[in-house]
């Protein structure tokens, strides 16, 4: 009786984040499952296959005795280059993905949304949908599609948008959760303002829930950890990867790990027992009051947790987790939610040491500091999952529908207008698409910003205390 989640990784960034996600998911399940049995909670993300048969036969959730045979991830890997996916297939996770789950092109999308969306979309669309369909057919009750992609490049943003639209058409009953990485200011892709703008329009129209991530925000979180590490040398900070390096010197690995943790926390309540379960479809019910306002700020505390040697005294308490999680320094999108209005927020707690009264007391406490929208001063959702994350006794994920999400959109709009004013690079897009799309996308973005602005309300302090 699993409730499955299919992860779709699109583009270089999506695949790198995905790779880290699967690695950590495996570690997490392995840690709670020393007997190596394919048990219920794994079945949301994985499949157990018996490879003695050709084609391999799927095994049901275990009777508690027989060991895992051959794990397969419920995922579809899409990239228009071969490099990253091939690396993945050669790496330690190669067993998780079969070649029938991957689609690769050769030449890349040339950092051009239009190329990805209007050329590769129609060209590979059918093949991609076929693979998604074959994954979906293996699910008993599909809960959601999680789409990992970046918005700066061509494949993740262009083809990702195309996939999102196709999923909307073909699987309208299944939740579509997008985790896009927004391009940063000093992005190495010149056309990223165009790409992200166009992609956001398709996210507005076709996704159910979007959890944006900004590289800059991730870098800042890592910088802070580095500073703390200097003070306490035992603190765990993941080593930067050897290969590719981020302009600011941070490894993508650590950044990807943050995003991977976000996904693990998000799905924890689907996978494990808890006193207040939160299904993925509950998130949209609770956090999206109006259909288009589905962009959520996410923050975690702690953002990263490794096999640290901190002693128990240094570990944050529940109350600390709650106070930290709403601070602007922990947001995965740059912005200060406390300065803006909350339309709704969800606090998903993992760990067995605390219980509902702690959570409820903390919510009451936080309420004094948060500006809630006037029509719903009690717009909170609490989740409690008993299983803590790996390497930490407890963790908290906060998802907030906050008007301060306007800021990244405003920044995006500014960067777009700077380029578009002079029509630079526009001819590359004209090759594949109608230039009117730019205007439509701009309208849609302005509309979104304005919509969020409408709910920016007057201060509601202590009124309901």
């Amino acid at each position: 009786m699993p409730r499955e989640i299919i992860t779709i990784q699109c583009g270089q960034c999506g695949n790198q984040v995905g790779c880290r996600f699967w690695e950590l998911a495996l570690q997490e399940h392995a840690a709670f499952n020393p007997s190596g049995v394919f048990y219920f909670s794994m079945s949301s993300l994985f499949r157990n296959m018996d490879t003695r048969f050709k084609p391999p036969r799927e095994l049901p959730v275990s009777d508690g005795i027989s060991k895992i045979k051959d794990l397969e991830a419920r995922a579809v890997l899409v990239d228009m280059e071969e490099g990253v996916v091939n690396q993945l297939l050669k790496g330690p996770l190669s067993n998780l993905f079969k070649s029938r789950q991957c689609i690769t092109g050769i030449s890349g999308s040339g950092n051009n949304w239009a190329h990805g969306h209007d050329v590769y979309g129609p060209q590979y669309g059918e093949a991609i949908l076929e693979k998604i369909q074959s994954e979906a057919e293996k699910c008993e009750s599909l809960q959601s599609f999680n789409i990992l992609h970046s918005l700066g490049g061509g494949t993740g943003s262009g083809l990702g948008s195309y996939i999102m639209e196709a999923l909307h058409d073909n699987y309208s009953g299944v939740l579509r959760i997008s985790v896009p990485v927004f391009p940063s200011k000093d992005d190495d892709v010149v056309t990223s303002p165009y790409n992200s703008m166009l992609a956001v329009k398709s996210l507005v129209d076709h996704a159910d829930c979007v959890l944006p991530i900004e590289n800059e925000a991730l870098c800042e979180i890592l910088d802070k950890m580095e500073v703390r590490k200097l003070r306490s040398p035992t603190l765990y900070v993941p080593k930067p990867s050897k290969g590719k390096k981020h302009p600011s010197g941070k490894g993508f690995d650590a950044m990807n790990e943050i995003v991977a943790n976000l996904l693990l926390h998000l799905t924890s309540s689907v996978r494990f027992d808890g006193s207040l379960n939160v299904d993925l479809n509950e998130l949209t019910t609770n956090l999206v009051p109006f259909p288009k306002l589905h962009f959520l700020m996410s923050s975690m505390s702690p953002a990263l947790h490794g096999p640290s040697h901190e002693n128990a005294a240094q570990l944050p308490t529940v109350n600390q987790l709650f106070t930290d999680v709403i601070l602007h320094k922990n947001q995965l999108v740059k912005g200060n939610p406390l300065a803006c209005t909350y339309l709704a927020s969800a606090f998903l707690f993992r760990g067995s040491q605390s219980n509902v009264s702690d959570l409820s007391a903390n919510i009451c406490h936080l309420r004094q500091r948060m500006k809630m929208v006037h029509w719903n001063p009690e717009g909170f959702k609490i989740g409690h999952c008993f299983r803590p994350p790996l390497h930490a006794p407890q963790a908290l994920l906060c998802l907030a529908n906050n008007t301060c999400i306007r800021n990244p959109f405003k920044r995006m709009k500014k960067r777009f207008e700077k380029l578009f004013k002079k029509r630079v690079y526009v001819h590359h897009y004209a090759e594949y698409m109608d230039l009117g799309t730019f205007a439509l996308a701009l309208d849609s973005l302005e509309d979104l910003i304005e919509h969020y602005g409408e709910h920016e309300g007057p201060l509601m302090l202590r009124q309901f205390a």
Binding site: M1, E140, L276, N277, P289, F290, N355, V356, E378, F464
Partner: protein
Amino acid sequence: MRDCVRARVRERERMGVVVLQVGQGGNQFGLSLFDALFSLTSSLANEFFREPRRSADLPRARAVLIDSEPKVVAAVKRRSRAMGYWRYGPYSSYTEDSGSGNNWAKGFCRLGPSWQDALSDLVRREVEMCDIFDGFITSQSLAGGTGAGIGSYLLEVLKDEYPSCNTLSHCIWPLEGECTVQYYNVVLSIAHLCDVVDGLLLVKNETLMSTCKKALGIQRPSFDDMNTVGARALASVLVPAYYQTKPKLTGLLKSSGKAATTCKVKSSDCQSQMMSSTQVRILSDLVTGLCSHPKYRMLALRNTPQVPTGLDNSTTHPWKSHLKQLKQMLYMEPSWAMESTSSVHGHKCTSDYSAFRKIDRCVANLLVLRGKGSSDADVSLLEDKALYPVWSKDPLMVATNTAPLGDFHIFASLLSNCSSAIAPAAHALSRARAMHASKAYLYQYAKHGLSMDDFDTSFEAIEAVLEQYREL
């Protein structure tokens, strides 16, 4: 001779009450309830448990477990097995995978109708296993989509299928901020439940939590702690008790089928008096006695004490202080209510509930006293005319049992049909109205076929109920 056999058969026949556990909160509470019922009753088979087919097996709970996702029901069954005193029936649960997503409309308009056949089969199986079927108790929470939405739908269906049965709905009122759309769900459920159930027992998680904290000294109560307190309170009403025989109550006893033969008896005869007086038939008496007026259906439960007290022989009137306390809970002033340590299910008034009346007027009360000397306790304190509206005849029913309740040597609970639900319901209504006015979240409900007008109808229905209680 034949009469004698028949009588013996009848003796073995059991009244049966089927408990429907719906949703996460409902299932968790249901587990605690059966646990409390099992520990408080001596016989292996009774209203809530049936004898297993084979004598080696454990008694089976007369329950149906329903949820829209599998994890909670699995965990509840696992825990009942681990405790090893009783079990849920092997085919007594129905779960699906989809989840109802905290969306009342999804549960009520979509999942409910599509599960209807399966659920009514399941319920019928359980009902058919009762020798005499007394009615349903549902255990559900009001916040989410499953307990609230599917629960309301199921009760409507059951009302059609078993028109003469009695239903008591035990509804868990969510904590503030448990879920963002909770007030929509609360309002929609209450509006629908008021039409179909006989009694609607509202239990606030918040009061349970403060009881745990203040009376029991649990600093950080979990849901389990809270459910244990709530379950004990409900079980104290449900386990066997006998009407206190007083001349005044003769009319009531006649109506419940048997003539009162004993009038005032001495305490030394209390055992014989118990045998000859009438046992409370859990649901039918409770419902006919307390909720006889179709417009008054809201129940509240208060009890005292919260912690087991030692057997105290020095006080000659142990009941007096407890009854006084119960009465105080009815007369609760808002400021006092906040400090209240002994109220379980009484409402807690906070400042934004505005100034409602300070006395909880009652349509009717059922007082259950358990422990030594309960059968001739003086209950005149609660017979105060000021508590009841003028039209109410014989508003106080008193049931007693000289046996102690578990660790509690004496235990008094008061189940009342009273106005204490006004404050929280009015609060929920105003919050739901505010959200509705700004059209927030409505599209999600509309997606499953619940329109703006449906909301308005529900708002009006609740307003009407509140108005009734305010007039008391």
